[in-house]
């Protein structure tokens, strides 16, 4: 039924649902993320209703959407998940780790099915048959390879509810059908009274609230004034209920009646439930309640009849109302915007900043008295532009929690695979970072976390033998430090072994000496193809790794540092600029050209004496700075800057550091430090060696931003 759509005769319009696909994909993705997070946070021994309801609602939403938009494979799988979760939230089953496992796997499968639909059905569809089977087994109370484990409801139920599916092997791929009604729920009508005070019966309602699994209760109209009546759904026997009620009211005051199926109209004073105008064959696609306000009827003699029933029921317990969900609140205060639009905005603001800088520069020579108003206006413009730039940049800022949230799941799977016990601690999740950086930092961070789990954390037995706790801890933290963000991956595992790294480096033909400082030794692991893992595991240790991490982070104008104590663990700190779109730069002049150096890589600058420079083989030069020799790079030669005055030559050097090495750049003058808006040269022109981008200066000229990493590598060869 669920999958067949009856063509209505209504508007007769042909609706193209595909226009809602994108929004559904995004929404389903969010729901899956949220569900995964909640599943991981779930404490199986004390799962509360709110959590279980939240997880259920995620599966429910995805199911509803995918069925509506015609993605039946997703609908089928999520329907199974929903059924299992429904039994969990009704406390008919006790949550067990296998359920969390299968739900997580199903979430992954749903994600991949959705991705396939999003790509227009391209690629191999994952098979969900075995997942569907496993879920339905669990939902039937069967633990795979174990005895049936139906959680007994807290008040001893008479005959344990035996799910019908338990006997017969579940069909491999059940159709989307209405969820099987759980257990042997009965609908009862319970009348309490006569009572001195009607409030006395509230205690009965509280019983249902306080005892999970007892069932549901709600007020209904009572036939007698001094009595209260309730409609109750429960799996407990009458005797059990009476025993429970006896704490609050005398048994003689309780009258329990079996209400037949509600559809057939149980209560004496109730109208028969009639379904009017159910259009579909089978009559279940929609329906109206007779006598209900607003319901269509052939003759409407007592149209104004108010829903008397409803008014009385209004005070009914609100147990079924889920607690405040943050999701819903957030949704009403945020809007979705295409990243392209934001980037366009940022670009425009960048242009505005440049125009403003040009105006400021051109107005510098103006007489303050004669142009007072113009200058005041320009000062305002300056301030507003800055504020605008800051606000616009903040749109692109997203919290680190987006990156961190992927790790609990990854670590859980990884630790299981390796047979290790690992706890993840995350700090500073609210720290914000540019979206572009977030995307690029995810892979390197994943690598670092994998490394920590695989190489750092020891096996539980080894840890115990060393007097450590069985559980290893990996800490991920993010914080702002000045204009940078620092992300740390710390573990309390075995740490780096100086001897091992030195001997490995020697094997690889890297020059080492016993006198190297620890920091220098740790830097060796960034050498290409370096791995100290005793054996290559499935997870990491194939030798591609730290060098790639380092290169990726350097490409973001960031740096990586390692700290380690053998036997106690290690810490990798990644320092990144807050955004890629704006950079603190130092501008230097060579002849008439201006170049920008990333301030993060500038170490120092000094005026050089001819004595300190020595020429070595093939004309390359070295400069001695405080007993340290470093290569000299003349920017005029690299960029072939024309020189009109042959007698003039550079004598200022700027030392820049990248990839752990330093070079001295020979320039004519230091022009100053300022923020520059980075323009991508590749997308506007093409890749240029030794240049990472370009910017437009206050006077409207273009200046190239130098790729210090590239310059350092050039000096090495």
């Amino acid at each position: 039924m669920a999958e067949t759509y009856q063509e209505g005769s209504g508007a007769g319009a042909d609706f193209d649902l595909s226009q809602f696909y994108q929004i559904f994909f995004e929404e389903a993705g969010e729901n899956l993320d949220q569900m995964e997070q909640m599943l991981l946070d779930l404490d199986l021994s004390s799962a509360n209703d709110e959590e279980l309801n939240g997880i259920f609602r995620c599966a429910h939403s995805i199911k509803g959407g995918s069925a509506t938009f015609g993605f039946s494979d997703v609908a089928e799988l999520t329907h199974q998940m929903e059924s299992l979760l429904d039994r969990l939230r009704r406390h008919e089953l006790q949550p067990i780790p296998q359920m969390v496992d299968v739900l997580l796997e199903s979430a992954d499968a749903s994600r991949s099915l959705l991705a396939r639909h999003q790509a227009g059905g391209q690629g191999e569809a994952v098979s969900t048959t075995s997942l569907v089977r496993r879920i339905s087994e669990l939902a039937a109370g069967l633990v795979p390879g174990d005895a049936p484990a139906v959680a007994p409801p807290p008040p001893p139920a008479a005959p344990a509810p035996t799910p019908a599916t338990q006997a017969a092997a579940p069909a491999p791929a059940p159709k989307v059908v209405t969820p099987a009604v759980a257990g042997q729920a009965r609908t009862l009508e319970i009348q309490i009274g006569p009572l001195d005070r009607l409030e006395q019966a509230d205690a009965i309602k509280e019983l249902f609230r306080d005892i999970p699994g007892l069932g549901a209760i709600r007020d209904i109209e009572s036939p007698q004034a001094n009595t209260r009546s309730f409609a109750v759904e429960t799996t407990s026997t009458n005797d059990d209920l009476l025993d429970l009620f006896a704490f609050h009211v005398a048994k003689e005051q309780v009258l329990i009646r079996d209400a037949a199926a509600p559809a057939s109209g149980a209560a004496a004073d109730e109208d028969e439930e009639t379904v009017l105008a159910a259009g579909a064959p089978g009559g279940e696609a929609y329906g109206f309640f007779s006598e209900a306000p607003g319901a269509p009827r052939a003759d409407a003699p007592h149209a104004a009849q108010a829903p008397a029933q409803a008014v009385k029921v209004a005070a009914a317990p609100k147990a079924s109302e889920p607690k405040v969900a943050m999701q819903a609140q957030m949704e009403s205060t945020t809007i979705r915007v295409d990243v392209k639009k934001v980037d366009q905005l940022i670009n425009l603001v960048g242009e505005l900043v440049i125009t403003q800088a040009m105006l400021a520069q051109n107005s510098r020579g103006l007489d303050a008295g004669a142009y007072q108003q113009l200058l005041a206006g320009l000062a305002d413009l300056d301030r507003n532009t800055r504020d605008l730039q800051e606000s616009v940049m903040s749109i692109r800022m997203i919290p680190m929690s987006i990156v961190f949230s992927r790790f609990p799941r990854m670590l859980r799977d990884l630790a299981n695979k390796l047979g290790k016990k690992v706890e993840l601690v995350t700090l500073g999740e609210a720290t914000e970072l540019d979206k572009g950086l977030v995307e690029k930092i995810t892979d390197p961070l994943t690598h670092l976390v994998r490394n920590s789990c695989d190489h750092g954390i020891e096996m539980p037995a080894d840890r115990l033998a060393k007097g450590k706790s069985e559980h290893g801890t990996i800490t991920l933290s993010a914080s702002h430090q000045g204009g940078s963000i620092v992300i740390e991956v710390r573990d309390d595992g075995r740490g780096l072994s100086r001897e091992k790294i030195l001997s490995k480096a020697q094997e690889r033909g890297i020059e080492v000496s016993e006198q190297m400082s620890d920091a220098e030794v740790w830097q060796l692991i960034f050498a290409p193809g370096f791995s100290t893992a005793d054996e290559v595991t499935d997870v990491s240790g194939r030798g591609v790794g730290m060098d790639v991490v380092k290169r990726n982070i350097a490409a973001l104008n960031g740096s990586v540092e390692i700290d380690s104590a053998e036997g106690y663990g290690m810490k990798v700190s990644v320092r990144l600029p807050l955004t890629l779109a704006i950079m603190d730069g130092m501008s230097v002049g060579v002849s008439d050209e201006v170049y920008i150096l990333p301030l993060s890589s500038v170490v120092e600058s000094f005026q050089v004496n001819a004595d300190d420079v020595s020429t070595v083989a093939q004309g390359s030069q070295l400069v001695k700075v405080r007993d340290e020799y470093m290569p000299v790079i003349a920017l005029e030669k690299i960029f072939q800057v024309p020189r009109f005055d042959p007698n003039k030559s550079s004598n200022i050097m700027v030392v820049v550091e990248a990839d752990g090495s330093r070079v001295a750049l020979l320039v004519d003058e230091l022009l100053g430090q300022h923020q520059v808006v980075v323009k991508n040269l590749e997308s506007n022109y093409r890749k240029v060696p030794n240049v990472s981008g370009a910017t437009i200066l206050g006077d409207g000229t273009v200046a190239l931003i130098l790729d210090t990493g590239g310059l350092v590598r050039r000096a090495r060869h």
Partner: protein, 120 residues
């Protein structure tokens, strides 16, 4: 133009419903859950409420119950969208004062058809 309050926590369902009804000539006010719907119902002139059952904060039946407490909404049609048309659900909807129900998933044409039956 008649106004319909469309209540669903799922943005895609909300958009779909809103698009369908707007196309059929109704004015649509969207709400993200029952609580939001209560506020929107107060501040807009609403002729019909179309509410999803399963929502955070306040579900469809809870919303119906609350709306019926207010004399202003005593007689307007309230339709519940649900994935299950079980007897319990119907009983709960009826007791709360709902006008009727519509089972998800539904076709946009079906939605208009049902709306046209109750809105005048």
């Amino acid at each position: 133009m008649q106004s319909i309050l469309a209540v669903d926590d799922s943005p895609s369902m909300r958009k779909m419903v809103s698009f369908t009804l707007t196309g059929a000539g109704y004015h649509v006010v969207e709400a993200v859950d029952g609580q939001d719907a209560l506020e929107k119902a107060e501040s807009h002139n609403i002729d019909l409420v179309l509410a999803d059952q399963n929502m955070p904060r306040l579900d469809g039946i809870g919303l119906t119950r609350k709306l019926r407490e207010n004399p202003k909404f005593k007689t307007i049609p309230i339709l519940i969208l649900t994935t299950e048309s079980s007897d319990q659900m119907k009983q709960a909807g009826r007791t709360a004062g709902a006008t009727g129900w519509l089972v998800k998933p539904f076709d946009p044409n079906r939605l208009i058809e049902v709306i046209q039956k109750v809105i005048r």
